[in-house]
Subunit: 329 residues, 2 copies
Amino acid sequence: MTDASKTREDGETTLLVLDADPPPRLGGLTGRTRILHGDESTFASQLPLADVLLVWDFLSDAVRRAWPGEGPRPRWVHTASAGVDHLMCPELAASDTVVTNARGIFEAPIAEYVAGLVIAAAKDFYGTNELQRQRRWRHRETRRVAGTRAVVVGSGPIGRSIARTLEALGVTVAVTGRRARPGVHGPQDLPPLLARADWVVSAAPLTDATRGMFDARAFDTMNPSAYFINVGRGRLVVEADLLAALAGRWISGAALDVFEQEPLPPESPLWDVPGLIVSPHMSGDVVGWRDELGSQFLELYDLWESGKPLPNVVDKDVGYVPTHDPSHD
Amino acid sequence: MTDASKTREDGETTLLVLDADPPPRLGGLTGRTRILHGDESTFASQLPLADVLLVWDFLSDAVRRAWPGEGPRPRWVHTASAGVDHLMCPELAASDTVVTNARGIFEAPIAEYVAGLVIAAAKDFYGTNELQRQRRWRHRETRRVAGTRAVVVGSGPIGRSIARTLEALGVTVAVTGRRARPGVHGPQDLPPLLARADWVVSAAPLTDATRGMFDARAFDTMNPSAYFINVGRGRLVVEADLLAALAGRWISGAALDVFEQEPLPPESPLWDVPGLIVSPHMSGDVVGWRDELGSQFLELYDLWESGKPLPNVVDKDVGYVPTHDPSHD
């Protein structure tokens, strides 16, 4: 890490921020660091000047597009997101550059969000809302949450946080990951788990191994009463297959917080599919989240500057922070 | 209890059922008991014939109206509900008749329902639903649930179950009851608790002491960011005052599952108040609830017939099962 913290030429570190609105609060770096702010139009030309890159605009794929170009590259890239799929490319993966993510910020909020979606579906909150709109008093019987079964696909900190929260509500939860380990099922267990789950929660990183994993075959494996929730990445799901599964009642309903294309365009057929809840990629974003992301970067910057090991280091070959990283377990 | 289990005249017990659709499954009593089925029109004339009364229609006030009339009265009344406000009258309270309720059936489902309403409000699920209807992608920041504060008004099994479930989500919960005791605040603590609560949950029995307790003064005491949930009884709330509180933004929103008048008539102004969720008295009613209520009555009937003590005995003076009843704690 000490090598990586060396500055490019004149003793001052250059931090490039791929900006978004609102920008990060980096007052803590005043006088310590030269800060360049870039956007998608300026980014490629600024990239060779940077010792450190902060990917504040986590919706942009400017990093992935610019990285393979000419010139020096930053030795540390931090992204203000849990997923790194928007920035990874083979050249970055093969480089010595350290990539860190925002592990620790989104886990608990996303877990609450998923728990809310589960209860809302079990109790038919949206059906009640529609009946209220029609001024109709129609008593129905709803489902218990305790005693149901969930499978959470994704054994990173977000998936495990979701599992803990659902378990607190009495749900029996199985977590699946890339490889079996204590408390985590391997991929070979997924089909039987899907077949008997009441709730299927997608919280996996987007990698070559997970892209499109929720396809017609997966939905066909699920129970007709199953409810599908995606808070991971849009491209984990083959959206056309999900629409077919909902139309054919292979599953009972679904809630998507992430999409193949974001923002979801107004003309998308996903907006008004019966039984499908659409939310604008906000499950982890609670009041103050941007400040938390900014503070987290400043903490990591202090470590980096003093040559100490960084937490939240992404395994660039698999595309996420390995869970055996002891720093946040 | 042995006295109470004596039958009226011929050695056979007469069970009167104040019926509702669907009726209870009482096959377990075949050959043991004479069963009369009554409705609101026949009930008063049948009441003197009954040794035991099962109030299956828990929406009817036929018991309260007929009880003060002429003739013998049943020695045991069981209601398939948690509340007994629909059947209690001074003459029943003063009598030797034992009244039991459906304690144990509704607690956990109602707690899940309340937890779902809390998360739905914190995450603005209904706002997201409305935006989906408009095909609008509008990212917002939402609230954490963990770390917020709730006051649950009602220290019976339903209130305590709600408290446990919210605590499992990281909410700090205070429970208030008719009198202070370990873990329960007395009425004098309520105003300061209301003033700092993020969530105010009404789960009290309807008694002379609680009727209309959520009035203009109570709503005025609450924090403008507070959210009010009523799963107890409609008449705990002065509905006109709640409407004023919502219109005046004294509180941020509310969800009502119970109402002064049920079913809520189509012309009620409550149906389309901004920030008010209306549901048809269903928070405790999960699939199989009627079967559970029927089975519970049969279990109590076995005890009664063999002269054993009954659980779930209502303190008729206060209007609910006292919490020091050890049988279900």
